[in-house]
């Protein structure tokens, strides 16, 4: 287990290192940051002075090393638009995105796993067809459209839930559903197929033949096995949600990291953009690592040699 963990950890570090290069070059190779920072209508002299102050005149590899060093010290640079340190700006926006992501994945898991289990317990019945139909239909609706639909139904027609801002828990209900529903079809399908396999497995037959109650067999002996691939999928989906939160936060005017990214792109606030890119990539890498560790806990064949 230790060797496995160390190898996985090294891999994660390597992946994040390479992504940091990608994040940096993506932002720096794509235009003149000095001109963007100086703003429209700045004189060439102003642009030049910005270039000097921020070190944009030095070669890119050198800039990258400087940036990385500072990142290790917790300094992500300054947002020239918001006139604040990037770390501070991110700290202000992150709680909303983390809350949203957690609620969204909770919604997705609580909806899709029971549905997947039910569909597997009663294959080819109405429940199963309904679940699969929901999955196929759900996958076809773009998240922004679904978000607008939710707003129209619950915010405009029924007027039961707020449709923008982040003042109370109620503000998170619609965004979490809009963000979470997109992950449900995949999780539901994988749960269903995993449960179908697990229910036919020999050890489940053993559990039944020894008189264990049905719910116990289903949850303890079948679901646990079906969950092994699902855990990895949930980690991946949570990673996607970090990216997908851009759309949802924009629609619901939630001032989270996604909204910040969208605004920063339009303001050419490059220090913020590269920090967000790096953080999301690192979060994704850590999530997959966490999924592997969790799978080790579920399945002793991974954990114990």
């Amino acid at each position: 287990m230790l060797r496995f963990l160390v190898r996985r950890l090294l891999m994660t570090v390597l992946v994040v290192a390479v992504t940091s290069v990608v994040a940096f070059s993506l932002v720096h190779l794509s235009g003149d940051p000095a001109a963007a920072m100086a703003g429209e209508g700045a004189s060439p002299a102003d642009v030049e002075s910005v270039r000097k102050t921020y070190g944009f005149d030095r070669p890119l590899p050198e800039q990258y090393v400087t940036w990385l060093k500072r990142v290790f010290e917790g300094d992500f640079g300054r947002s020239h638009y918001l006139r604040a340190s990037v770390a501070q700006v991110l700290a202000d926006h992150a709680p909303i995105t983390i809350t949203l992501g957690a609620l969204a994945i909770a919604f997705a898991v609580l909806l899709s796993i029971p549905l997947g289990v039910l569909a597997a317990l009663y294959p080819n019945t109405l429940v199963d067809r309904l679940a699969v139909g929901l999955a196929v239909g759900g996958q076809a609706v773009p998240s922004f459209l679904f978000a607008l639909l939710l707003i129209y139904i619950f915010g405009v027609t029924l007027r039961v839930l707020p449709i923008s801002g982040s003042g109370s828990w109620a503000h998170f209900v619609l965004p979490a559903i809009a963000l979470g529903y997109y992950a449900t079809p995949a999780i539901m399908r994988l749960t269903r197929s995993g449960m179908l396999d697990a229910l036919q497995s020999d050890h489940v037959r053993t559990a039944r033949a020894y008189g264990l109650p049905a719910w116990r067999v289903i949850i303890k002996h079948a679901l646990r096995h079906a969950m092994i691939p699902v855990v990895s999928l949930i980690a991946v989906q949570l990673g996607f949600m970090l990216g997908g939160s851009i759309v949802i936060e924009t629609v619901f005017a939630l001032k989270g990291v996604g909204y910040l990214a969208w605004q920063s792109i339009q303001r050419s606030d490059i220090e913020v953009i590269q920090a967000i890119l790096l953080l999301i990539a690192a979060a994704y890498a850590l999530l997959t690592l966490a999924a592997d560790v969790l799978n080790g806990a579920i399945d002793p064949r991974i954990r114990v040699g």
Binding site: D202, H203, T206, R208, A209, Y210, G211, L212, P300
Partner: protein, 309 residues
């Protein structure tokens, strides 16, 4: 099929003839698509047909235990041996944690496991196939069941281990006095281990009787064919070709409108085209055939009306 306490009944037949399914039917676990045709399934005179799920749970593992074919997959890989034994023990036995653990250790010792404490804390994938099958047997013994069904318990094991496991089952049976249903396709296993034998073909018992009688004087042509297809020391001539039964087993869901063996039989007559009942030859021996072989002679019998075994 009937079985007394302390007795071993061997159920033999080709693959796909419904041996395992019949055995699972005794525990009330048949796949939802399988249709069960039986008049009576009973344990100690009490019918098991039509039991509720809750009632079944008190029987499964408690009074009837099953040892499955493949010990590699029959134990849950996610839990230690202790977890799995404890779960079943808790379900059926009113023992406190300490007594239950003592019981588990005792059971593992009984099935010949030398370091039971270590084994308890291990996961199935850390044990060899033979050890896992011993663990399965220990689990089966947990509640002192009246009946143990061993479904091809040795097929997945190495040849050297097979004999050990069969020996173990026989010894345990002597000690605990449970009835044993041994499902196998290996007649070699049957000869030494079983008191009585039931030969199954296409979902039906075609012949049943004491092991010695059935093996030495098979009445049904199918049993005869089975016996000819394995070499027996001293009976099969050296170099003589082994017999085989032409054709394949009919689909088990095919309607029983004729003798199921009619297309593969060496001595069919036109009367075989009706459903054949299991008819007694003597009080202990019966065959589903209207022209059984008795004492080396083929005897004509009148087709009786169908009655299920």
């Amino acid at each position: 099929m009937t079985l007394d306490a302390g007795e071993t009944l061997a159920v033999v037949g080709e693959s796909g003839c419904g041996k395992s399914l019949s055995a699972m039917a005794i525990t009330g676990l048949v796949p939802p698509r399988a249709k069960l045709i039986a008049d009576r399934i009973a344990l100690k005179g009490k019918s098991l047909l039509g039991l509720r799920e809750r009632e079944w749970r008190g029987i499964r593992g408690r009074r009837i235990a099953v040892v499955f074919q493949d010990p590699m997959t029959s134990l849950d890989p996610c839990y230690t041996i202790e977890d799995q034994m404890r779960e079943i023990g808790r379900q059926h036995l009113a023992l406190d944690a300490r007594a239950l653990r003592a019981r588990m250790l005792d059971l593992l010792r009984q099935v010949g496991i030398s370091s039971p404490e270590t084994r308890l804390s291990q996961y199935p994938h850390q044990l060899s196939g033979g050890l896992r099958q011993r663990v399965m047997i220990a689990i089966a013994l947990m509640c002192e069941p009246e009946l143990i069904i061993a479904d091809e318990p040795t097929t997945a094991l190495d040849v050297t281990i097979q004999a050990q496991v069969l020996r173990l089952l026989a010894d345990l049976q002597k000690e605990h006095g449970f009835g044993l249903i041994l499902i196998t396709h290996d007649l070699g296993v049957v000869a030494g281990a079983a008191d009585r034998i039931a030969v199954m073909y296409a979902g039906q018992v075609v012949e049943s009787g004491p092991t010695d009688t059935v093996l030495s004087a098979p009445a049904h042509p199918y049993t005869e064919g089975l016996l000819h297809s394995i070499p027996v020391p001293g009976r099969t001539a050296r170099g003589a070709p082994l017999g085989f039964i032409p054709g394949v087993v009919p689909r088990p869901d095919a309607p029983h409108t004729a003798c199921g063996f009619i297309n593969r039989c060496s001595r069919p007559v036109s009367a075989c085209a009706t459903p054949i009942a299991l008819m007694p030859i003597d009080p202990a021996h019966a065959a589903r055939c209207i022209r059984p072989c008795l004492g080396g002679q083929i005897v004509e019998r009148h087709p009786a009306t169908e009655t299920a075994a």
